[in-house]
């Protein structure tokens, strides 16, 4: 079988990249400490949502959170990171949630 098959590409489209900037602020699911990160690719490999992109073997660039609004907040990336460079940050709408639970219970009356 072709060995290159499973190698990661590290790019997402420009449209996606533009959206990211905005989204990363709103959802900021994880923070990567630039000083601690050793650019090892593990977080890219482990994220179950395919959100973290890092060019394999590139020792200068930081991993990118390509799809911040698709984060499960599972912390697998944090738990696998060999240098504790990752922290999961919950956004405002999660930690201080103001949703009326009744709005989740349907519009069908008795």
């Amino acid at each position: 079988m072709d060995d290159t098959k499973n190698h990661a590409s590290h790019t997402c489209s420009p449209a996606v990249a533009a959206r990211n900037e905005e989204q990363a602020l709103a959802f900021n699911p994880i923070r990567i400490d630039e000083q601690k990160c050793v650019r090892c690719d593990l977080c890219d490999w482990i994220c179950p949502g395919d959100l973290i992109y890092h060019e394999e073997g590139n020792k200068t660039k930081l991993p990118v959170i390509a799809y911040p609004d698709e984060c499960w907040y599972c912390g697998l990336c944090q738990s696998i990171c060999p240098t504790d460079a990752i922290e999961v940050i919950f956004p405002e709408q999660m930690v201080h949630n103001r949703t009326d639970v009744l709005s989740l219970l349907g519009k069908v009356g008795a």
Binding site: K5, G75, F90, L102, V108
Partner: protein
């Protein structure tokens, strides 16, 4: 890559999804010397799927001596645990196999023993008639299964999403998949296929409004159920919806640990209300706990809170530890929220909805299977949270293993040559994919999915009636017609587009099945406000869903019969 633009592979068994059920299905096939290919969306087999981060409880009978610990005892209680909607033929076989599969998994290196006690720490919860839940540190559970599969030399295609099954004359012979990083397409011909792609999430709104903040794995989107449906397989129990109680703002695991270790739920008046809904109080089935929470909110008694203040420091320590194993980030959430669950009440919400087993063990919603794990389509098997008998990691492991053994029988007993690949099917799915990625496509999948979620939340969720369900079906059908317009910004987006279509398909099946069951059963799992009573005289029946000419068609079958009684194919010769 070949000239036609895709790679061809041939194998004995193709497994769709390398989670608990998929890896456990691969193992007996590998042991029997079959060639196995696994397609999996994740990149690392040891950590992919729902429990990549770890698990904290395993449900099993162990046959250690006492009567309650025998399969026969638990089997006797299954009808009452499932409100009588259960395929006893399959559920009994799963329970009978539990001790054997448990010991097999132990032999893979999973340590189920409590480190302090040196023995199994078994607890009672979720209405079960015995202490069947082993509390353990399952951080490495999935890793042990993954290692086993890698040792057996299966071919694993990672970051590869299966998008369509290949079927001829009601017999499965493979599937079409693509790698969402490289864009490479693969067509796999196989003598048997096991669908093990998990449950259905992202199907309704939740408190945070973030679609991927879900209690269960948001990257499981009912792909197996939708692909099985399109391939002509029968589904059952799709009307039953599942919800849980979760810290408000973060849809997280932990209910099992909380209730089994003695936590209380109280409403805004400080009343411990669970006993009003079930004599077992907080030890009732998950479906009952969720239903009670929903009702307290509807009665105006919300907010509902979690109360752990009465527990001993040792219990609280154990709870804190267990919660973190089950959902790694829960302590960080409490910390960033600034709440200390040992001393303070924690506000609780109803989670988003999902399709799995409606908070009831052994009554799975999904692909109907026989006691070999085979669906109504020959050589197409299903196991885990996408099948009609499921029960967490144990249910997935046991039925997965049964399906793997069923595959071995099926493959050995069949002398058919595999059909040639249906090139038209491959070309048409690739053309559709190209369109999603072109400028002609304009509908963002997020918007499409939001519309599905709003429809489900408002009309197919925990409160249903005839009018609302019909409205929902119209909306969901109209959305189906817009699927060709769905836009993918990149290959990753192409995966999401396929997932969105699968979520919608499952929502439609749920609405269609709910419309048929004109009664209420298991509280909010199927609550028809226009038929509020449980009607045992007319409704001890399964609702079956199959593909018809104009969408899902429904029939019913008495629960006195196994689901396989409705299958058109012949059973495998034992």
């Amino acid at each position: 890559m070949t000239t036609q633009g895709w790679t061809n592979l041939e194998t004995d068994l193709l497994v769709v999804g390398g989670g608990v059920a998929g890896t456990m299905a691969a193992i007996p096939a590998l042991e029997a010397g079959l060639k196995v290919v696994i397609c999996e969306k994740g990149k690392v087999l040891d950590h992919c799927g729902s429990i990549g981060c770890g698990v904290d409880h395993y449900l099993t009978v162990m046959d250690t001596g006492p009567e309650w610990d025998t399969p026969a005892f638990l089997i006797k209680h299954v009808p009452e645990l499932t409100d009588h909607i259960v395929d006893m033929a399959v559920a009994s076989r799963v329970i009978e196999q539990m001790p054997r599969i448990f010991r097999k998994i132990e032999s893979f290196g999973v340590d189920f023993k409590d480190k302090q006690l040196g023995t199994y720490y078994r607890l009672r919860s979720f209405g079960l008639p015995g202490t069947y839940h082993i509390n353990f540190d399952g951080t490495d559970f999935k890793k042990c299964l993954g290692e086993r599969v890698r040792k057996g030399k299966a071919t694993v295609l990672m970051r590869t999403m299966v998008v369509q099954l290949l079927v001829e004359d009601n017999r499965a012979y493979g599937a079409i998949a693509f790698n969402f990083r490289s864009g490479e397409w693969t067509v796999i011909r196989a003598k048997a296929v096991v669908l093990a792609a998990g449950d259905v999430n992202r199907i309704s709104r939740n408190a945070s409004g973030l679609a991927f903040d879900s209690w269960h794995f948001p990257y499981n989107t009912g792909d197996a159920q939708a692909m099985g449906y399109h391939a002509g397989a029968m589904l059952a129990n799709m009307e039953s919806v599942e919800a849980t109680l979760t810290p408000k703002g973060f849809s997280a695991q932990g209910l099992n640990a909380l209730v089994s270790l003695g936590a209380y739920f109280v409403n805004r008046h400080g009343e411990r209300f669970m006993f009003r809904y079930d004599k077992k109080g907080e030890n009732a089935r998950r479906a009952v706990l969720a239903d009670a929470g929903i009702n307290e909110y509807l009665l105006g008694n919300g907010p509902v809170y979690l109360d752990c203040r009465h527990l001993s420091p040792e219990m609280l320590d154990r709870m804190a530890y267990t919660l973190q194993v089950d959902r790694y980030t829960l302590p960080a959430f409490y910390q960033q929220k600034g709440v200390n669950f040992r001393e303070e009440l924690v506000e609780i919400s109803i989670s988003e909805l999902s399709i799995r087993r409606s908070g009831v063990y052994f009554r799975g919603s999904g692909l109907a299977v026989d006691a070999n794990g085979e669906t109504s389509v020959e050589a197409l098997f299903a196991a885990g949270d996408c099948a009609t008998v499921s029960g967490g990691i144990a249910g997935a492991a046991v039925l997965g293993h049964m399906a793997g053994e069923g595959v071995v029988q099926r493959v050995r007993g069949s002398s058919h040559a595999l059909p040639e690949v249906d090139r038209r099917a491959v070309e048409s799915i690739r053309a559709r994919a190209a369109r999603h990625m072109s400028h002609d496509a304009t509908l963002p999948w997020r918007q499409f999915e939001d519309e599905v979620r709003d429809t489900v939340t408002d009309y197919v969720g925990v409160r249903r009636n005839d009018k609302g369900l019909r409205l929902a079906l119209d909306t969901l059908q109209a959305l189906a017609r817009r699927e060709p317009e769905l836009k993918a910004d990149d290959l990753h987006g192409l995966m999401r587009v396929h997932e969105s279509c699968n979520v919608r398909m499952n929502a439609q099946m749920m609405a269609a099945a709910s419309l048929v069951r004109k009664e209420t059963r298991t509280g909010s799992s199927h609550c028809r406000v226009d038929h509020p009573q449980t009607d045992d005289a007319s409704w001890r029946k399964f609702v079956l869903v199959e593909r018809g000419e104009r969408g899902p068609e429904t029939t019913t079958l008495s629960v006195d019969q196994p689901l396989s009684a409705a299958f058109a194919r012949a059973a495998v010769a034992a």
